[in-house]
C-alpha cells in the first residue's frame, strides 16, 4: 500500500485507515437511509440516523485515540484528525436535519427538490469514499476532488431555488418557520462540509509528497 512507503509499516496505521474507511462507509449508509426515508416519509428509518451518529462518534474516538497513541508521523496527525472531525460534523448535521424532517410537512415542489439534494449528498459521500481509497492507493485525487466540487456547486444552485420557493409559503407559526428553515439549511449545508472533508484529504495527500 502506498501509505506504507511513507510511514512506519506498523499495524496501528492500518488500523486507523480501516477505521476511517468504516467511518466514511457508515456516512454513506446514513445518507442513503436519510434519502430513502425522506422520499418515503418513513419516520422509523429516519430515527435510525441517530443510532448511526452514535456509532460514528464511537469510531471517531477510537481513531483519534489510535492516532495519538502514535500512528502516523506527527506532522500528519492534525490534518488527519481534522478530516475525521469534519466527517463527524456531517453526521451531526445529518442527525439534526433528520429531526427537522420528521416534524415537517414539505410542499410538493420543495419535497422534490429536497429529495434530489439528499440524493446528491449521498453521491458526494460515495465520492468521498472513492477519494479516500484513491489517496490510500497513492493515486491522483484531482478528478475526484473536482467531482466533489461539481456536486457541491449543483446543490448550491438548487439551494437558491428552494429558498425562492420557501419565500412563497405561508408559515403558521414561528416554530413551523424555524423548523422549515433549519431543515433546508441543514440539508444544503451537508455538501459544504463534505467538500471541506475532501479538501482535507487533498491536503493530507499533498503533504505526503
Amino acid at each position: 500500500m502506498w501509505f506504507n512507503r511513507f510511514f512506519s509499516r506498523g499495524k496501528s496505521e492500518k488500523r486507523v485507515l480501516d477505521k476511517i474507511r468504516s467511518h466514511i462507509e457508515l456516512l454513506c449508509r446514513a445518507c442513503e437511509i436519510f434519502r430513502s426515508a425522506l422520499e418515503n416519509e418513513d419516520h422509523d428509518s429516519m430515527r435510525r440516523i441517530s443510532n448511526l451518529e452514535r456509532e460514528a462518534d464511537s469510531i471517531k474516538r477510537e481513531i483519534i485515540s489510535c492516532i495519538y497513541e502514535g500512528a502516523f508521523l506527527p506532522y500528519l496527525r492534525p490534518n488527519l484528525c481534522k478530516f475525521i472531525e469534519t466527517v463527524d460534523d456531517v453526521f451531526d448535521l445529518l442527525e439534526d436535519t433528520s429531526f427537522h424532517a420528521m416534524n415537517l410537512y414539505l410542499p410538493h415542489g420543495i419535497r422534490d427538490e429536497s429529495n434530489r439534494v439528499a440524493l446528491l449528498n449521498q453521491r458526494m459521500c460515495e465520492m468521498l469514499l472513492i477519494t479516500f481509497e484513491a489517496m490510500v492507493a497513492g493515486e491522483d485525487l484531482r478528478e475526484k476532488i473536482l467531482a466533489i466540487r461539481i456536486y457541491e456547486k449543483k446543490i448550491d444552485d438548487m439551494k437558491f431555488g428552494i429558498l425562492c420557493d420557501l419565500k412563497e409559503l405561508s408559515i403558521d407559526s414561528y416554530w413551523h418557520g424555524k423548523s422549515l428553515s433549519d431543515f433546508v439549511s441543514g440539508l444544503t449545508t451537508i455538501s459544504d462540509i463534505i467538500e471541506d472533508a475532501g479538501d482535507y484529504l487533498q491536503i493530507i495527500h499533498l503533504s505526503m509528497h
Partner: protein, 134 residues
C-alpha cells in the same frame, strides 16, 4: 449516468405573448438561462427561449425589448429526451440537433433541463467514479 441525476429540475415557463423584457426579468430573478415557452391555444406544443436568443436576436439587432414578443424569437419544437436516458445519448442528441440544451421529460411532462456544462460535469463525475468514458 442517467440524465435525471445531473439535470436541473427547476423549469420556468413564460407565455409566448410576453415581451422579451419580461423574459429577461424572469431569467435574472430566477438566475436561469432559458425559459419554456407556452404558446396560446396550443396545449401540447412548447418552445424555448434562451439568453443567447435574446442577446443575438434582439439586443444585438437593437430591437425594442418591450415590443418583441417571446413567441417571435422562441425556438420550437423543444428538443427533449426521457429522464432514463444515459448522458451519452443526450450528448448525441445535442450534436445531432445542434442545440446546447435538452429538456428532460417524464411521460408528457417536462421535469428538467440538461445543458452543455451539465454534460461536462457528468462526464467528469463518471471518470472520477472509474467509469470508462472519454
Amino acid at each position: 449516468m442517467k440524465v435525471s441525476e445531473i439535470m436541473t429540475s427547476r423549469i420556468e415557463y413564460i407565455s409566448g405573448d410576453s415581451s422579451v423584457f419580461e423574459a429577461i426579468e424572469k431569467m435574472i430573478e430566477k438566475r436561469i438561462r432559458s425559459l419554456v415557452v407556452k404558446f396560446r391555444g396550443e396545449n401540447e406544443s412548447h418552445g424555448v427561449i434562451t439568453a443567447r436568443d435574446i442577446v443575438c436576436k434582439v439586443i444585438a439587432r437593437k430591437k425594442n425589448l418591450r415590443e418583441v414578443k417571446v413567441a417571435d424569437i422562441a425556438s420550437r419544437p423543444l428538443v427533449s429526451i426521457e429522464q432514463e436516458a444515459e448522458l451519452s445519448e443526450v450528448a448525441g442528441l445535442m450534436e445531432e440537433s445542434g442545440v446546447g440544451r435538452v429538456f428532460v421529460r417524464e411521460g408528457d411532462g417536462i421535469v428538467g433541463v440538461v445543458a452543455l456544462l451539465d454534460i461536462m460535469a457528468g462526464t467528469l463525475i463518471m471518470r472520477a467514479r472509474g467509469k470508462n468514458v472519454v
